[in-house]
């Protein structure tokens, strides 16, 4: 855990000037990110909006996961449950109730939050491996529920042909490009929210709990409430990512709630850099690009993924962005 602390965001003891410098750097990165998102669809090969939307949805998912693992020190192995359930809810409401995208995304996100509250309040009673196992077990229940309720989830066929209704009932989302800009905007807002949370007093307490829970307790913090809060927040944002994915990809399927999805998001976070704001975005981009452009290799994709993971763990233990942050001696 000491490793994470070293690469984490500015510590409480950092001088005000350094903190201001870092904030300026992060602001620049955010502006750069927004500009990149704006022009990406015009770049050939990687500018395929459908692919970009997928990357963004998973990037937000990884960021949400990272909020809990990197800043809360809580390794959940069941994040697919919030992502998947939310994608089902959003797909279902868009298809069968004919709701507009913003409403179905909101409902999906809310379902992620409610599920996070229910699961979180059970899981945070235990720590470490037991915490991870409880989240995994609860997530498997959601998977089983999805498999057994074809009326709601479509069983193994999933909910297909999810319509992209008009945004706010007014703006048509007919083309992939317009949907991409919606996804990009929500993604940016999500990441900005996470950034804000990390750098708030709440975030500082979280980091304190992560680094030394006993000490945080002795300082008078109600540790469990903080943990539950970050759990719910993370589940909510995972839900936001999931419900957006359902609208963007027009499909909600069992893959989204499967345990391997929970594993994939861990992989994205670790490859990109756990405990960095921008790491999970890079991690998601790397993993999804590999799945996309190496699809021709078939089963070998997982082998390549595994090899990259091993290389990451051996060579850059802090992940891609974590290592860059170390080079420039700035938290990213």
């Amino acid at each position: 855990m000491a490793d994470i602390a070293a690469t984490g965001s500015p510590s409480i003891s950092a001088s005000p000037k350094a903190a201001a410098d870092n904030a300026a750097l992060h602001r620049m990165i955010f502006i750069g990110l927004a500009a990149t998102l704006l022009v990406l669809p015009f770049i050939p090969v990687i500018g395929y909006p459908f692919f970009l939307m997928k990357v963004l949805c998973f990037a937000l998912f990884a960021c949400a996961f990272n909020l809990m693992l990197g800043y809360g020190g809580l390794l959940s192995f069941g994040h697919a449950a919030y992502f998947g359930l939310a994608s089902y809810v959003s797909a279902y409401t868009a298809k069968h109730w004919g709701l507009t995208p913003e409403l179905s995304i909101l409902l999906g996100t809310a379902s992620g939050a409610v599920l996070g509250l229910a699961f979180g309040s059970l899981a945070i009673r235990r720590q470490g491996i037991y915490f991870a196992m409880i989240t995994l077990a609860l997530a498997q229940m959601v998977f089983f529920f999805s498999l057994q309720t074809p009326r709601f989830t479509g069983g193994e066929d999933g909910i297909q042909a999810v319509p992209r209704n008009n945004l706010f009932g007014l703006i048509p989302l007919g083309s992939d490009t317009s949907t991409y800009y919606l996804v990009a905007a929500v993604f940016l807002a999500g990441v900005a929210l996470i950034y804000r949370v990390i750098h708030s007093p709440f975030g500082q307490v979280l980091k304190a709990i992560r680094d030394n829970e006993a000490r945080a307790v002795s300082l008078g913090y109600r540790v469990n409430q903080y943990k539950l809060a970050v759990f719910v927040l993370s589940a909510t944002l995972a839900g936001l990512a999931g419900s957006m994915k359902a609208i963007a990809v027009q499909l909600a399927s069992l893959t989204d709630v499967h345990w391997s999805m929970s594993g994939e998001v861990v992989l994205m976070t670790l490859v990109g850099g756990m405990g960095t704001v921008f790491g999970p975005i890079i991690g998601a981009a790397v993993i999804i690009s590999m799945q996309n452009f190496l699809a021709g290799l078939g089963a070998w994709v997982t082998v390549v993924q595994g090899a990259i993971f091993v290389v990451c763990v051996l060579i850059f233990r802090e992940g891609i962005v974590g290592v860059i942050g170390k080079w420039i001696k700035r938290p990213l």
Binding site: Y48, F50, Q148, D157, Q160, L251, T255, G296, G298
Partner: protein, 408 residues
């Protein structure tokens, strides 16, 4: 040669004719570029019965058709959808949007097939489905852009369910994989059995995917039903047949009926284990001279493995599609589909047939029994033909399918 001759002629004509006609003639000689994507499982459960073999079948169709001589420049690409609808949908979209693919062939696994079906319709391309089982592809979810070639759950139920009852197997017990596909198989087959005068004495739901079927098989055994219907697929089917053999169920006089079993499954199980199993397929390599000749060529390139009905279906569908493209001289999906539905199909594997308005390809299906090891004359000699169902009996009547294309 004819290309050069035509060119000279058009040059000569050019002296007299206007520039416009000369240009249009030159354009007519340009080969039409056709790209067919074979999308299936290349690494998982269905890799043996679809996989690279389907891509080979598509290439053989291009070769046999002599596409180059008929003015078509055909390219076959392939990809692995890993049996996941989102992966399949992603590949299909990229193929259509970026890679200029005109038709997607094979697509086993119904969930992936539905996703590709939807995208194909949206992009107005063509899906030549051979691998998927669900009869909804030509029913509630039918599309003007899809042909469902080889088989479907309705035909399997008709074949195995109906013919078994006629042969005396009138009491049934189902072993059903507990997910939507398993339930659908059980429901359809039970309906056929009851309609044919049989009786369903019981059913048990097995967890999906399952490894231990012993307690369910004991229930099936003690039900004393004459036929045990296996409403499952892939690994579940293999496991349940293996364990049934260990319990000596077929030796005890009960018949095992596989509702979705392919020749590669029988090959994997071996005759000792699979003997006596009843199943329905629409193609078997040893049916007639045409199927034998094709299968021999196929096996030479596949390390001795005979083609499955799915791979045969990819061959037949690709051949028919190429005929359409050569006749219309275009990549236009609407024109090609109209040609495909308007003209009889004819290939050495399925014989003559038609494609209905709902996309259903019509051909006979066959009920087989797996031979005893003593009856088999050599490798891949696995099936005894029990009955042949004409297409009209095997496939769901067009009016009963609820296909919106037909009602309209």
């Amino acid at each position: 040669m004819s290309y050069f001759r035509m060119n000279r002629r058009s040059l000569m004509a050019g002296a007299a004719a206007t520039a416009f006609t000369a240009r249009s003639m030159a354009q007519a000689q340009q080969p039409v570029n056709i790209k067919i994507g074979v999308l299936n499982d290349r690494s998982g459960l269905y890799a043996d019965l679809t996989g690279e073999g389907s891509a080979l079948a598509a290439r053989m169709a291009v070769e046999d058709f002599g596409a180059a001589a008929k003015g078509l420049n055909v390219q076959i690409v392939s990809a692995d959808h890993q049996n996941k609808p989102d992966v399949g949908a992603n590949i299909a979209r990229q193929w259509y949007d970026n890679d200029g693919v005109d038709a997607i062939a094979d697509v086993p696994t119904s969930s992936v097939a539905f996703a590709v079906n939807q995208i194909t319709r949206e992009k107005n391309k063509i899906m030549l489905n051979s691998g998927a089982a669900s009869s909804d592809l030509t029913g509630a979810q039918c599309s003007p852009n899809t042909v469902h070639w080889t088989y479907d759950t309705y035909a399997l139920a008709q074949g195995t369910g109906g013919a078994m009852v006629k042969a005396g197997g009138d009491t049934w017990f189902f072993l059903t994989a507990d997910y939507a596909f398993g339930h659908a198989l059980e429901r359809d087959t039970a309906a056929v059995v009851t309609k044919a005068g049989g009786r369903v004495v019981g059913a048990v739901r097995t967890p999906f995917p399952g490894t231990d079927f012993s307690s369910f098989l004991l229930q099936a055994q003690s039900s004393r039903a004459k036929v045990i219907g296996l409403a499952n697929a892939g690994g579940d089917t293999i496991n349940s047949i293996k364990q049934a053999a260990e319990f000596g169920i077929t030796q005890g006089g009960q018949k095992l009926a596989g509702l979705l079993v392919f020749v590669t499954d029988v090959h994997a199980l071996g005759l000792q284990t699979a003997q006596g199993l009843i199943l329905t397929e629409s193609f078997y390599w040893d049916l007639n001279d045409g199927t034998r000749a094709f299968s021999e060529r196929f096996a030479r390139q596949r390390g001795g493995n005979k083609p499955t009905m799915v791979q045969a279906g990819v061959y037949g569908a690709t051949l028919h599609y190429l005929k359409a493209a050569a006749a219309t001289k275009s990549r236009d999906a609407t024109a090609n589909m109209a040609w495909m539905k308007g003209n009889q199909t004819d290939d050495p594997l399925f014989g003559k047939g038609t494609i209905r308005a709902d996309g259903r390809k019509m051909h006979p299906v066959y009920l087989f029994e797996v031979k005893k090891p003593s009856e088999s004359k050599g490798p891949w000699d696995y099936y005894k033909l029990i009955a042949t169902l004409p297409a009209e009996e095997a496939f769901r009547p067009i009016a009963a399918g609820n296909c919106p294309l037909v009602r309209a």
